[in-house]
């Protein structure tokens, strides 16, 4: 996915499953908290309880260049580089 002015990277190994990214994403779009309505799904491996975020929706617009999910992730499992040349979402 291409969007404006930066690159969003997901580091699945760093994810601790706190769901803050989901809450932040839904909040930034609707001013309400709702993990189910966020553009992120958290893949949950029931063998280990390991989670990993995935951006599932084509509606993700990188929050106009200031992704709420990356800002909310305390474990740096979603990061954002604002000045990435072409802008992409990995």
């Amino acid at each position: 996915m291409i969007s404006i002015g930066g690159r969003l990277t997901i580091w699945p190994d760093r994810c601790r499953g706190c769901r803050s990214c989901q809450m932040a994403c839904s909040f930034t779009k609707t001013l309400e908290y709702n993990p189910s309505a966020s553009y992120i799904i958290l893949e949950r491996d029931l063998e280990t309880e390991k989670t990993a975020p995935m951006i599932k929706s084509l509606r993700c617009d990188l929050c106009g260049g200031n992704p709420a999910c990356a800002a909310a992730c305390s474990y740096k499992a979603i990061t954002f580089e604002p000045n990435w040349e072409s802008g992409s979402c990995e």
């Binding site: 706190c18 809450m23 309400e32 908290y33």
Partner: protein, 641 residues
Amino acid sequence: MTRPIDRTWFVDLTRSQVHVEERTYDEVADVLGGSGFGWRIVANRLPSGIDPFSPENMIVLNPGTLVGTRVMGASKLTAITKFPTVASADHRYYVGSCTSGGRYFAIGMRQAGCDRLVIQGKASEPVILAIRDGGLSIEPAGDLWGKGIDEVSRTLIEQEGQDAGVLVIGTAGEKLVRSALTIIDRTNSLGRGGLGAVFGSKNVKAVVAHGTGSIRVADPIGYNQIADELCERAMTWPRREHWIKLGLAAGWSTFKHTQNPGMWEKESWDKLYGEEKRLESLRAVIACASCPLNCRLRWVLPGGEFDGEQGLGSPYSKSATSGQLLGIEDDRKMIHLVTEANSYTGIDFYTTTRLIDFVTRMAERGRIPAEQDGITLARDYPTYQRLYTMTANREGLGDILADGWYRVQEELGLDPSEYWYAGVCKGVDFIYDARPSRFHPLMMTFLTRPRPHHGGSHTRTNSRGKTLEEIRDQAAHWGLSDEVMDRIFLETDYSGKFNVGRYTAYMEDLMRVKNAIGLCTIYTYQALIFADDMARLYSAAVGEQINARELIRRGERVSNLAKMINVRDGFSRADDQPPDVWFRPMEAPEGRIEMEDYYQTKTLHREDLAHMLDDYYEERGWDKTSGHPTPEKLAALGLSI
């Protein structure tokens, strides 16, 4: 500004009936909604004098008012019930609350539009309760009854979807083992002292919670700004790096003092169960919802008899104290037993271990016959393994252990006050020992709370060596008057540099606040969120401006409600007594350890504790002789019960 609505779902299992009561927030605000209002429902609708296993008993599950909102640490669920632990020689039972975090369950309840679930009655067959967008359904448990916690949890998550929250009881809860607890979302335990057994008595194997609705706050922008500001505080906390690497395993530096049974040399305990050892089996640290600190653990045992065995939860403190008490040097053997308790039986590991320690040691000393029903008591690992299983299954001697300390006294003639570690009060053994811990306010809450467990009361005082300035600074955020602060920080010859009794009253009220709003206790333990922050959050969430003083006042109202419910069932100051063992020096390898005040200026005696209790009741405006709230106090708080 849209103010939230408070919705309580009621299920009567006997009649298979469900109904919902909706209230405006103003109707629940005087007790902060959440578990505060749960306590009011219990006060108004739970008959006094009932048996905890009777259908009349209630379980009230309360997600906190802030749960699901991205405020750090707001992940908690509080359950209220009459616990089946036999709490006195004349068989009284306390009504108490317990609290736990999680990632899915409490949020799932709120997303489904259930701010509180009240469970009453008894199902005719084993059932699962499912909280979904469309309402509550009662579904047959089928062959899940009889299965272990983790298998049931996984099955239900697979059926319901990966975001489903689960609260599950184990085989011990089904068999009404009086200490049995529940496990939430596979990683968090809730309700030692028998919440799991109350579920079992109602034929409820599990509750599933899965909703898709939104969680709204009254002032979204203001609220979210406070959430960002607080998170920034946690991110710059100097110990964060260490904490996120180890989770709860990081607690060893405090824990090795507070939970030391004093049988082994400190160095050998460190080597066998300390931080380095923990790292050998630690595989991952898992966060509760919206927590930037994380503490839940996944471990895999390396080598030995249980090589490759995986567990979830927090095994290290439990295994370290129990290993020392039982004399088991191989940490993997103890962690294996914790794993079985968390993932299969749901017995409370603290209580079961101490009872096993008590009876096996007493058999060794010749105080009871080694030959007991179904087992020959010895001080070795195979015997312990067998006793954990027998307790969970209520087989032979295990049937007695499953009923707790008073039944052991009645059947085996062993007085619980003789037990050597930490002590027993109201039928519950304490997790910390007041002697190596030094007498800090959390020890006081074990006496004064209706349910003798901390319940999430932590403040800075629960670690050793905090300066008076640090303790005072934290309390300064409680919004108390100068007069009250002066009383708390007045040096006395019985409590030392601060007045533990008076401090405890407000610390407990703050605990009621945290439980009502759903905030994890780690944030007050590490002084990362203060009472005035909670007031700002609460105000923005519900659309009513209140300050810290008013917030604590509402917490006080909940404390009084909880106390009055127990007064109705015959509890009084006579039940709030410190255990004898606190006054017997611990004979540790490094020397005698006596119970001292927080700053170790003197040894504490029974009169000192009595003085502290006097101060506690006085600060609360309760009668010092009976320990009961006075009619004037209840009137001042606007409570009638």
